[in-house]
């Protein structure tokens, strides 16, 4: 059920995106007129201080939140035209999320966590378990497949999360501070894994980080400051 994408300018293309919240009666503008285009197979870092709006940008990129204005095309789909179900399907088939706090479901085993996205595609349980196990092998955790997330170390959890992000063969991985909760050695391993996926499998990689060392290893760096995006070629 992979998507057949017409090639549009940019795999991901945002034009004039704005987003604001009403908080306690106050109008808070988070993103102003953001335009950004990311090609298939690129690796891109989104940098910015906390509160700069980079997480909001990531949520919009990941179709978890809708912008107030502008135009957003994701893999040829106009996001403003899509229904909630279509957005869910695009998330399911095109986007793999990796979160800072892993966000594994604590009550499911590592294997069931990885198999979960396939369940929402109607893949049979047998097949989704087989594919999940294969993916856990790729991240080097096959022997931990039946452990609960609580029984795994931080690095192992993040590997499970990456396996879950990849199991549906997405076009893009959106990672929000993927190494934020890990020690520096494990962080390097996780980054190596993500970059290897980007290089070897051509998965588009978008990483939100405040760590310049991580951003350096990516093709492109985008800086968010006060709700405005700047292209930063050298940080």
């Amino acid at each position: 059920m992979m998507t057949d994408t017409p090639t549009l300018p940019g795999f991901i293309s945002l034009q004039g995106i704005g987003k604001s919240y009403q908080l306690a009666g106050q109008h808070l503008s988070i993103l102003n007129d953001v335009s950004l285009s990311i090609a298939r197979g690129e690796s891109c870092g989104i940098l910015g201080a906390s509160g700069s709006g980079k997480s909001t940008l990531l949520n919009i990129l990941g179709l978890l939140d809708l912008p107030d204005c502008g135009a957003y095309h994701f893999a040829g789909h106009d996001i403003f035209d899509a229904t909630a179900d279509q957005l869910a399907a695009i998330r399911n088939q095109q986007i793999g999320f990796v979160f800072q706090s892993f966000n594994l479901l604590p009550r499911l085993s590592a294997l069931d966590n990885v198999a979960l996205p396939l369940a929402y595609r109607g893949v049979s349980r047998q097949e989704s378990v087989a594919r999940a196990l294969h993916m856990l092998e790729q991240v080097g955790l096959a022997e931990r497949a039946h452990h609960r997330p609580a029984d795994l170390s931080g690095g192992q959890r993040q590997r499970v999360a990456i396996a879950r992000a990849l199991v549906g063969a997405p076009g893009v991985i959106l990672a929000d501070e993927p190494t934020g909760n890990l020690d520096s050695h494990t962080a390097r391993d996780i980054m190596d894994l993500l970059l290897a996926l980007n290089h070897e499998q051509g998965v588009t990689l978008i990483i939100v980080t405040h760590d310049a060392h991580i951003a350096e290893r990516l093709n492109r760096q985008v800086l968010v400051r006060n709700g405005v995006v700047h292209e930063a070629e050298c940080v």
Partner: protein, 399 residues
């Protein structure tokens, strides 16, 4: 591009069970409410059913074609009932009557081989056998030619009471009542008690009505038992028989009860009873349903983050809704099954304690289990829908 994705049923069930297992104590508490509700519905329907069965049993052997006439004196009258009635005239006046017999009863000790027991002494006319559906185990009933004889037909229980091991009461034996010996010409079969007939058949000694004077100086006709021919309008026969009997009894009122009316009354009564019980069960079910809703709402609010993650992974609103709905229904289904077992046991126990025959009400299980599942569905919808309407970004933000 096909954006239609669906989660297979087995996947859904698998997740619902994993989730319920981990809900643990809270789901057990919610279960308790459901179990009580569903078991009371099942038990109450069944108890109501058994009560109605028991009531119907009373009439079962009686049939609805039997009428009993009684004769209370008219106000201010002190006239006694005659010791016999012209039943032939009544029979002729009301051709719809198949059998007719009169009863004049008295009670006293019956003695056989030194053994004594108390019996109802029933002065009978020959038509009584068919009017009351008496069935003989041995011998024959009193005939028209026996009216002058000291013959008797004995009820099953009296016959047993007068028998001793090695010395049973047999046809041809003589029993003594006062100073008269009565020859036993028939022994009746054990017959169920009938509410309608004013005689305990098993505990009676039937003797010719004409011979009643031997043991009792002024016998009176106490009641008349009529049996209608097949396919007759009972109310019409009752009215006609009342008229014919009244002609012979100027000083007495003739009262005839129609069994169908009594049966209808009892049926109505037991139906009201069953509805009342059903309402009680329904109320406890609603209580259980509120418990389920409470647990599911708590469940949803504790799992907001999980809902967000699932949405990020591609769950649609309806997937989230189904997830929680299925959990609520699975929870109630487990409760309904426990309740069905518990309710049946309670109904069985109740029937046993009341000395009723236990029989399974066909509607009890499907109604009890079905209504419980509906309650689970109804009270599960709100939490499930509220979960599915969460925005992914808001749900994920929750810590």
């Amino acid at each position: 591009m096909s954006l239609g994705v669906a989660q297979s049923l087995s996947q859904l069930l698998h997740e619902a069970f994993v989730s319920l297992r981990t809900l643990g104590k809270r789901s057990i508490l919610a279960l308790l409410g459901i179990v009580i509700g569903s078991s009371s519905v099942v038990a109450l329907i069944n108890i109501g059913h058994n009560a109605a069965e028991d009531a119907a049993m009373i009439f079962k052997d009686m049939g609805t074609d039997t009428l009993v006439a009684q004769f209370p004196p008219k106000a201010g009258s002190v006239a006694r009932m005659p010791n016999s009635l012209n039943l032939q005239a009544v029979h002729q006046a009301v051709p719809g009557i198949a059998h007719i017999g009169a009863i004049s009863s008295f009670s006293g000790p019956v003695i056989f081989h030194g053994r004594t027991t108390n019996a109802g002494l029933i002065g009978s006319t020959p038509g009584l056998k068919d009017a009351m559906r008496l069935v003989l185990r041995e011998g024959r009933f009193l005939s028209e030619f026996d009216s002058g004889e000291t013959f008797a037909v004995i009820g099953d229980q009296i016959a047993q009471a007068l028998s001793a091991p090695g010395d049973p009461l047999r046809l041809g034996d003589r029993v003594r009542v006062n100073d008269y010996l009565f020859l036993i010409i028939g022994i009746l079969q054990n017959q169920p008690r009938s509410m309608l007939i004013p005689v305990q058949i098993n505990e009676s000694l039937f003797i010719p009505a004409a011979g009643m004077r031997r043991i009792y100086s002024s016998p009176q006709v106490g009641s008349v038992v009529l049996r209608a021919a097949a396919g007759q309008d009972m109310e019409r026969i009752a009215a006609d028989a009342t008229k014919a009997l009244s002609a012979q009894l100027p000083e007495h009122t003739v009262e005839i009860q129609i069994p169908q009316q009594m049966i209808d009354g009892m049926t109505r009564q037991s139906r009201t009873f069953a509805y009342l019980l059903l309402a009680l069960g329904a109320i406890s079910l609603v209580g259980g349903g509120v418990g389920v809703m409470n647990v599911m709402l708590m469940n949803v609010s504790q799992r907001r983050r999980e809902i967000g993650i699932r949405m990020a992974l591609g769950a649609r609103q309806r997937d989230i809704r189904n997830l929680f709905l299925l959990e609520a229904v699975t929870l109630t289904a487990v409760g309904a099954l426990c309740g069905a077992v518990l309710g049946m046991s309670a109904a069985y126990l109740y029937a046993w304690l009341s000395g009723w025959q236990f029989s399974l009400a066909v509607s009890a299980l499907p109604l009890g289990v079905g209504s419980t599942l509906l309650v689970g569905l109804f009270f599960g919808i709100y939490p499930a829908v509220s979960a599915s309407h969460l925005q992914p970004v808001e749900a994920l933000r929750d810590e």
